[in-house]
């Protein structure tokens, strides 16, 4: 009765779940099947508690994929009910997850890869950096955060390549947005590929830098999700298309979460917002 993707529903066990800052946690899961097949940039839907509540699973990117140990790591920020519940899970407890989901980064033939991460967006880039270096590519990381406390995994990146850090408050590195060191860098050097993840304003800036510089860039996007498997159309993100409206909605969970920067739209063409559809209770 079950088919191949049913393997993605797996009971993992918590190896560790500890706070890095008061509101950012590092979760390590024993999940051999997942570790064996997951790719950087893919994500999982975590059932934060057994039973009916909360209704939906929570999506988190893989921060690290450790094939040898059969483990995956997630870094999550406590922003609401689901992540709050998650903080209570202790080592040894089981957590049901669904994954790996989505497409992951596509490193192509890139020799020198720029990784641009803002805040929690740094998390999934480490997995990509580790894979890239393992494959003999070179990386350079541009990491930004509110304060030094939120600069995730800085040391890990420093072991892998050159790292530029900035913070909003200047507590660590330059007081700037992460687009600044990237732009500075691109004045003199070229990147074969940029991988970006972070808050929307950062991604917008990144897209415009990539567009103007003509650098290929992939962005990992977020959207509120329902199913996580491509069926409910809940996680829509607008991308350019040859339609009368100039765009269509793609599914972050299935067609993404990684998209080419040049296809993504951070604001809709003209009357788009008005073109609603069936509102008020329908779907």
């Amino acid at each position: 009765m079950l088919r191949e993707d049913a393997r993605k529903l797996q009971l993992t066990s918590v190896v560790d779940n500890r706070p890095l800052t008061p509101d950012v946690y590092h979760l390590i899961l024993k999940a051999p099947k997942l570790a064996a097949e997951a790719k950087p940039g893919q994500f999982v839907m975590v059932k934060v508690a057994p039973g009916l509540e909360p209704t939906l699973r929570r999506p988190f990117s893989l921060h690290r994929i450790d094939r040898e140990m059969g483990q995956v790591e997630i870094i999550y920020q406590v922003v609401g009910r689901g992540t709050d519940i998650l903080t209570a899970r202790r080592a040894g407890e089981g957590i049901e997850i669904l994954g790996p989901l989505g497409n992951g980064f596509c490193l192509q033939e890139a020799k020198l890869i720029g990784l641009v991460g803002g805040g929690m967006g740094i998390a999934p880039l480490l997995a990509a950096a580790e894979q890239a270096v393992q494959e003999g590519r070179e990386i350079v990381a541009f990491l930004g955060a509110r304060t030094g406390d939120y600069l995730l995994a800085q040391e890990e990146f420093e072991r892998l390549g050159q790292v530029f850090v900035v913070t909003d408050d200047g507590s660590v590195g330059e007081k700037a947005l992460v687009s600044k060191p990237l732009q500075d860098y691109l004045q003199t050097k070229q990147l074969d590929l940029i991988l970006g993840c972070g808050p929307t304003p950062m991604l917008k800036a990144l897209k415009s830098i990539a567009d103007t510089q003509g650098t290929l860039a992939q962005l990992s996007l977020e959207q509120r999700m329902g199913c996580g498997v491509g069926a409910c159309l809940g996680c829509a993100f607008p991308v350019k298309a040859n339609t009368p409206e100039g765009y269509i909605y793609k599914r972050v969970c299935y067609d993404g979460p990684v998209f080419w920067a040049h296809e993504v739209l951070f604001s809709l063409p003209n009357e788009a917002a008005k073109q609603g559809g069936c509102s008020g209770g329908q779907s």
């Binding site: 993707d5 008020g280 209770g281 329908q282």
Partner: protein, 308 residues
């Protein structure tokens, strides 16, 4: 008890078991077909189709609420022609294996409802058509199709005239008297009723002072609405004699049994598919388990079996 008989006769439709997956929560079956063999299901009701392709609403389209979710997808779909050309053909093998494939039709005018229905009916690709008349955005009108008996009668009668397959009419719960609407739909020729669609609702992010859904309001579904759905199914089943697909918050075999007892002949699983990709399959398996435990030989014994 080793074997139980799960087959039901849903009006003109024969189902291998009473569990259907509900429109909008199951796409065109493709994604979940990678998780399990869909022939385990009684049938699948595919995503709503309209005359032309529709983009759908801007995101966010989903908000979580206690015991449920709100959605405002906005009927994103490739349009009926593309669906007939690309989405429905891969499902034909399922039909040969006895799992029904049912088209869900939405529209913004009488004409659109009729046009889409006719194309689907003529295509030969669906076993039945479910009419989604709960959409409040109506061309020129502003009054919802599904909330006034007269409009319900008119749209169902028009569609009935061009529909050569069994016609299911899906009712909105956002009404004062569901039996009144049910009567209209039945009188106009509906073979089967499915109830309920989502309850109208809203979620707000207090800190940002903004609605969570871009569409402001959305449709509430999931376990939270089960009591409302059960009551409406019971009420309609008491009031009249038409086969009912009971829908709303079903996540387990016991939930399904409750709807059958209330008077439904089949049940629909929606949000449970989002909660767990094996959600609908589990309902099928648990319902069978429930029958075994309760030593009930045929699922039909449950239908309308509530002792009051």
């Amino acid at each position: 008890m080793d074997k139980v008989d799960c087959r039901v006769q849903l009006g003109p439709l024969k189902l291998k078991n009473p569990v259907l997956t509900m429109s909008g929560t199951f796409g065109f079956g493709q994604e979940y077909g990678k998780y399990y063999d869909l022939s385990a299901l009684g049938g699948i009701i595919v995503k709503a189709m309209t005359a032309n392709p529709r983009l759908g609403n801007p995101p966010p389209r989903i908000a979580e609420t206690p015991g449920g979710i709100l959605n405002a997808i906005g009927l994103q779909n490739p349009g009926v022609d593309a669906a007939i050309a690309e989405e429905l053909p891969p499902l034909q093998d399922l039909r040969r294996r006895g799992t029904l494939v049912i088209g869900n039709v939405s529209g913004y005018s009488f004409d659109e409802y009729c046009a889409v229905t006719k194309k689907l009916s003529d295509s030969g690709l669906v076993d039945a058509i479910e009419l989604n008349i709960s959409c409040p955005n109506v061309k020129g009108g502003g009054m919802a199709f599904g909330t006034h008996p007269d409009t319900v009668y008119k749209v169902v009668a028009s569609v009935r005239a061009v529909c050569d397959v069994p016609l299911i009419v899906k009712l909105s719960p956002n009404v004062t008297d569901i039996t009144e609407i049910a009567f209209s739909a039945a009188k106009a020729g509906a073979d089967i009723l499915s109830l309920i669609n989502t309850l109208s609702g809203m979620a707000i992010d207090a800190k940002r002072r903004r609605p969570i859904l871009s569409n402001v309001t959305g449709g509430l579904s999931g376990p939270a609405i089960k009591p409302v759905a059960l009551k409406m199914v019971y009420q309609v089943a008491q009031a009249m004699d038409i086969p009912i697909i009971g829908v709303g918050g079903i996540v387990s075999g016991t939930d399904a049994a409750e709807f059958l007892l209330a008077g439904a002949t089949a049940v629909g699983v929606g949000t449970a598919n989002l909660m767990d990709p094996l959600g609908a399959l589990k309902v099928v398996q648990e319902l069978e388990q429930f029958l075994k435990e309760q030593k009930i030989r045929s699922v039909t014994e449950l239908i309308g079996g509530l002792i009051v």
